[in-house]
Amino acid sequence: MANTSSTTKDGAQGARPDREAHANVPQFGDRPARPAKGEPEFGSYYGRPVLNAIPWEARDIAGYLFTGGLAGASSVLAAGADLSGRPALARPLKVGALGAVTVSLGALVHDLGRPSRFLNMLRTFKVTSPMSVGTWILTVYGPLTALAAASDVTGLAPRVGRASTLGAAAVAPLVATYTAALIADTAVPVWHDGHRELPYVFAASAASAAAGLGLIGAPVAQAGPARRLAVAGVAAELAASRALERRTGPLVGEVLHQDQAGRLLKLSKALGTAGALGAVASAVVPGMSGRGLAAAAGAGLLAASACTRFGLFAAGQASVADPKYTVVPQRERRDARV
């Protein structure tokens, strides 16, 4: 290639066509693409995210948010069923809670970069780390759940079984809700902005999942609490989700309505509403069709809860991927102070 420039001791001279190429480069310091209509103008480094991507697998961690919530609320409902003399409702919930917490533990270990070092979680206790606190909660909760289920299924040591059921139920509400603090205590914009509302969303989602499990596992005659909890859980989740959407506002909150997160959260609302209605109807439809309707409603409620967790996980990822969710609110906050 012919070089049309020359360098003398006085400096570079002549045509330097390469230098002109910069004129075609996008406006550096701005986003590379012009913001769409109505989009806020903001600066970024070549449109790259400020935060590093969340290193968790959705299957493991969103999956855990679901199974942990299911386990926790199931243990609470199981204890309620026990205390109110509904053994046929209590048993599937106890067994389900054990299954769900086992899957949870597997998912948590699987997601570690070094699964063999899982026990390092237990070398310390840190109140500043929701994950540390949560690990200890699970460490107490897991064995109690196993005892409760084993005693119920085998009929052995009923007193230990009763005590374990109540013990598990005492810790279980935290199993179902601490995960909200786990994800909210991060710089992920939509999770942290929603740190006040997420615990209620999670508690309600867990409640409707446990209700779903109860509807699947228990005969209609003993499933009354599950039916009522289905309605209460879905109603509470709709209200808490609405509060979350309001809190996160039109900018950051838009990730709750877009793309995969938006689809999953919308599906969750539809499935939850259908599940709650099905649960109510199952009480008045006689015979086997009532039982079948209850099971279908229960499956819908479980799916709704899973959709909520995977949807909120995807929303978190989306709010990290675009720097505007990090930069614009912080810019506004900083400008408001000056």
């Binding site: 409902l77 070092r117 603090a181 609490p225 978190g316």
Partner: protein
């Protein structure tokens, strides 16, 4: 008197807090810091991609990039082109979210007030990654563990300065006692304002900011976000008491709800 994180952690007779002052107004974008850091800390290669982002194929901080030189080309109103360069690094926050959320205690505060990952403790849970408001620490796929700048903890122990500062040919990266650096940075920004660079501003120097001030702070010639830095980062653990309260109320509501639902006859 700003808080001393080493003493707060429990170090007795801690040496003065050490840090970086990165003066981007004299950075020439040579990337000697990136190279020196990689060499000294034996950080593996992490791919070579052509990004089209000026002279920056490094792209950003991560598990295998502990110093990252940002290149920004800006068209000025008069048609001229301006180049901004900034060697970014872990901020070694006074209130470090990565350290707060680490469930194993792998992340620790050193006697120099810096934040370091103990590689033999980390189990790769990855919680510190989304916790960091600056996008610094990250997980290395090859070993599943998190890695970041140690402020050359091994060199500090020997009275040496970190490799990046040692290699910097213009003294854009200045290493020293944080209190001294803050004074020097204040003087530098004043001098720049007087010499007709009104846009010069310090970033991360203020102990009153959302992370209690950075152990590694910067002099910038544009807004932080232009360099890929968050304009107003906060340590989210400061909201933990409120989160715990809501988690507790939600847990009680769950119990109350279930109790109400099981109380009925049918």
């Amino acid at each position: 008197m700003s808080p001393d994180p080493a003493t707060d952690t429990g170090h007795v007779d801690a040496p003065p807090r050490m840090g970086f002052f990165t003066d981007t107004s004299i950075c020439i974008g040579c990337k000697a810091c990136e190279v020196a850091c990689k060499e000294w800390n034996q950080i593996p290669e992490d791919g070579l991609e052509f990004t089209g982002m000026s002279f920056d194929n490094t792209q950003g901080l991560g598990a295998d990039t502990w110093r990252h030189v940002a290149f920004i080309e800006q068209s000025q109103p008069d048609g001229d082109l301006r180049w901004l360069m900034d060697s970014d690094v872990c901020k070694h926050c006074t209130h470090a979210a990565c350290l707060d959320v680490c469930p194993t205690g792998a992340l620790v505060r050193t006697e120099f007030g810096t934040v370091v990952v103990q590689e033999d403790i980390c189990n790769g849970c990855g919680y510190c990654v989304p916790a960091c408001p600056y996008g610094v620490i990250d997980k290395r796929p090859a070993d599943g563990l998190v890695h970041k700048c140690t402020l050359c903890y091994d060199r500090l122990g020997e009275g040496q300065e970190p490799a990046c500062a040692k290699a910097c040919p213009t003294n854009s990266i200045q290493f020293g006692e944080l209190e001294v650096l803050r004074v020097r940075a204040g003087e530098r920004v004043e001098a720049l304002h007087e010499s007709g660079v009104p846009e010069a501003q310090l970033y991360g120097h203020d102990p009153e900011d959302g992370v209690g001030g950075d152990g590694a702070f910067f002099l910038l010639l544009d807004e932080p976000e232009t360099y890929g830095l968050p304009p107003d980062p906060v340590v989210t653990t400061r909201d933990l008491p409120r989160m715990a309260r809501h988690v507790g109320i939600a847990a009680l509501a769950l119990v109350a709800g279930v109790a109400a639902c099981t109380a009925g006859g049918r």
